[in-house]
Amino acid sequence: MATLALRDIRKSFGKHEVIHGVSLDVKDGEFVVFVGPSGCGKSTMLRMIAGLETITEGQLLIDGAVMNEETPTRRGIAMVFQSYALYPNMTVYQNMAFGLEQARLPKAEIRELVLEAAETLKIEPLLQRRPGQLSGGQSQRVAIGRSIVRNPRIFLFDEPLSNLDAELRVHMRVEIANLHKRMGRTTIYVTHDQVEAMTLADTIVVFNEGRIEQLGTPLDLYNKPANRFVAGFLGSPRMNFLQGRVAEAASGPCVEVPGGVLPLPQPARQGEAIEIGIRPEHLEVVAPEGAAARARVQFTEQLGGETFLYCDVGEAAEPARIVIKRQGQQRFGDNEVIGLAIGASDVYCFDSKTGAALAA
C-alpha cells in the first residue's frame, strides 16, 4: 500500500524557481510516467520525491503522512538512475546487499532476499562479478535488482533505459512492465521515449517549464490533448500545426488553411483565426483534381512498414511544412502535387493565442 500526494510543490535553486506549484495524486500501485521537454523539471520533481533534493514549498505525502523532511529510507522509496550508479568496488551481490546491511538485517536474511531478487531478474550468474565486468543491460538489471531487494513502497526511475540500445530497450521495457504487474508497486517513471510512456503508463503526466500541462491515461492525452503543447508533445512524427481562418461551406463548418480548406468538427465564429492540428496518420492522400486541399511532396522517408511524406502546403513563396504518415511503401515523385483529405473529427482546433484546445 502506498499512495503518493504532491500538494502545490515548488522548488527553487537559489533565487531561480524551477518547479512552480505541482499537485498530483498517485493511487496505490499506479504506474505514472513523467514526460516533458529537456529541462522542464522532471528529474528535479523525482529527486524531491526521493528525498535527494529539498522541497522549497508545498507538501509531499506518502500514505497520507507528510514526508518533506524524511530520509529516503524512511520514505520507503527506491530509485534507479540512468547511469545505473552501481558501486564499482563491490560485487553485484554486495551491491544488492548494501542497502539491507544498512538496515541491519541478519546476514542469512540478506542472502535470501538477494538471491530471490537475483532469480527474479535472472542475474544469478553475475552475482560475483563487479560492475566493470557487466554490459549495459546487465548493469541496469542489477540496478533494478538493488532497488527491489529492499521491498520499497514506491519505485522511482529516472530515464532508466536511455543508455541502452534499441533492442535491449524494448526487452527491458517489457520486463519492467512485468515486474510492475507482479509486484504491483506504485511507480514513477521519467522518460523521453514516447513508446515507453504510452505502453508503460497508467497515467502520463506532461510537464512543461516546471508545471503540469495535462495528465491522464495515454490514449486520453493522445486523443484529447488539452492544449497545443500536449498535442505536439505526444505522437511521432509530431502533430502538424497550421494557421487557419474559420469559413462556412455547404457541407458544414470548415477552415481555410494554406493549401485549401479542411472540415471542422464543430461550428465556430466565421472569420475567426484559429490554429488547427492534424496528426500525420490522419491525412489521406487523394487525387489532386477536385481535392479540397493540396500539397507538394518535398521528399519521402521509406521505413519499410510505413512511409513519411514531407510536403509543403500553401504559397510557394512561404510554404508551411507538413508530414503525412502512410501505411506500407508508397512512392511519390519529388514535387508531385497530391490531394489531401481528412475526417472532420480528426481535426484538432486550438486557440491561436493561448494554445488551449477549443471544446468539441
Binding site: 538512475f81 547511469s83 550508479a85 564499482p88 568496488n89 542497502g99 544498512q102 529492499r150
Partner: protein
C-alpha cells in the same frame, strides 16, 4: 628532393632537439657518469682513475653508517607518508562539501602556498621556530607551564621535527590531489548510497574511499619516492644530527662524494638508492594494479 614525409620527420626531430639536449646534459650524461664512477676509484688530487669492480659497492653495503642512514630514511618515509597522505586525506574530506566557491578557493590556496615556497627558506624559518631557547614553539610550551622540548637536540624527537616540516610544506599538494579525486566521485553514486540508507560516514568508508583508492595509492608512492630523496631540510636544520639520528641516505651519499671526496662510493650508494626506489615503486604499482583491476 626529399618527400613531404621525410621533411616532416626532419622537422619533428628539429623540434625535439632542444628537449633532448637538455635531457642529455642534465640527466643522461650524469646518469652514465655515475654508473661509470661506481666501478672506479678516483684520486681526489690527480683525478687519476682506476677500475675497482664491485669494491665501491662492497664498501658501501658493509658500511654500518650506510645502513643506519638507510634505516633513518625509511623511518622518515613511514612517518612522512602517514603524515602527508593521512592528514591530506583528512583535510580533503573536510573540504569536500558545499563550501562557497571563494572560500574554497582561499582554503586551497592556503594549503597549497607552502608547496610553492623554497624548501631551503622554509627550513631556515622552522629552524628558528624549533630552537630550544629562543624558538617560538618552546615559548608557547613554556607559557603553558610545560617543560620545553628539544625539538632538534633530542635524538628521539629530531626526526619528528623534520617530519613536521615536511608535512607542513607538502600536505597541501596531497590535499589538492585528494580533494580533486573526492570531487570526481560521481554524484549519483553518493545519492544511491543515501537511498540505500548509508550514513555519510559509511558512504565515505565503503564507497568514496574505495573509489579513490588508486589516487591514494599514487599519493603514497609519490610521498615514498620523495621521502627516499629527503635531503635539503635535514641538511639545513639538523645536518643529520644529533649524532646520526636524522642522517638520510642522500646525505650519506652527499658526504661520501663531496665531503669525503670519494666519488666512487658516492656513486655506488646513489645507484643502490636508485635500485631501492625502483623496487619500492614496482611493489606499489603492482599493488595498485591489483586494486584497479576490479
Amino acid at each position: 628532393m626529399a618527400t613531404l614525409r621525410q621533411r616532416e620527420t626532419l622537422a619533428a626531430y628539429g623540434f625535439l632537439a632542444p628537449a633532448y639536449l637538455i635531457y642529455l646534459l642534465f640527466l643522461a650524461i650524469p646518469m652514465v657518469a655515475s654508473l661509470l664512477l661506481s666501478v672506479l676509484e678516483v684520486d681526489r688530487l690527480t683525478l687519476a682513475t682506476q677500475f675497482v669492480g664491485w669494491a665501491n659497492f662492497d664498501w658501501v653495503l658493509t658500511d654500518p653508517r650506510f645502513w643506519k642512514t638507510f634505516g633513518n630514511t625509511f623511518y622518515f618515509i613511514a612517518l612522512a607518508v602517514v603524515g602527508n597522505v593521512g592528514l591530506g586525506l583528512g583535510l580533503a574530506v573536510l573540504l569536500d562539501r558545499n563550501i562557497p566557491g571563494p572560500l574554497l578557493y582561499l582554503f586551497r590556496l592556503a594549503y597549497f602556498l607552502p608547496v610553492l615556497v623554497s624548501l631551503a627558506f622554509v627550513s631556515f624559518i622552522w629552524r628558528f621556530m624549533f630552537s630550544f631557547d629562543l624558538g617560538a614553539i618552546n615559548y608557547y610550551i613554556r607559557m603553558l607551564g610545560l617543560p620545553p622540548v628539544g625539538w632538534l637536540t633530542d635524538k628521539n624527537v629530531a626526526m619528528f621535527s623534520i617530519v613536521i616540516i615536511d608535512v607542513w610544506k607538502n600536505v597541501g599538494f596531497f590535499v589538492i590531489i585528494l580533494l580533486a579525486a573526492l570531487q570526481g566521485v560521481p554524484r549519483n553514486l553518493m545519492e544511491a548510497a543515501r537511498i540505500d540508507g548509508a550514513s555519510p560516514f559509511t558512504a565515505l568508508r565503503r564507497i568514496k574511499l574505495p573509489y579513490i583508492a588508486p589516487v591514494i595509492l599514487f599519493c603514497v608512492t609519490y610521498a615514498t619516492i620523495g621521502g627516499l630523496q629527503v635531503f635539503d631540510s635535514i641538511k639545513i636544520i639538523t645536518d643529520g644530527g644529533p649524532g646520526d639520528s636524522t642522517r638520510s641516505v642522500v646525505m650519506y651519499m652527499f658526504s661520501e662524494a663531496f665531503s669525503a671526496g670519494e666519488l666512487g662510493t658516492g656513486a655506488a650508494s646513489a645507484l643502490t638508492l636508485l635500485v631501492v626506489i625502483a623496487i619500492v615503486t614496482a611493489i606499489q604499482l603492482t599493488l595498485g594494479r591489483r586494486f584497479a583491476g576490479r
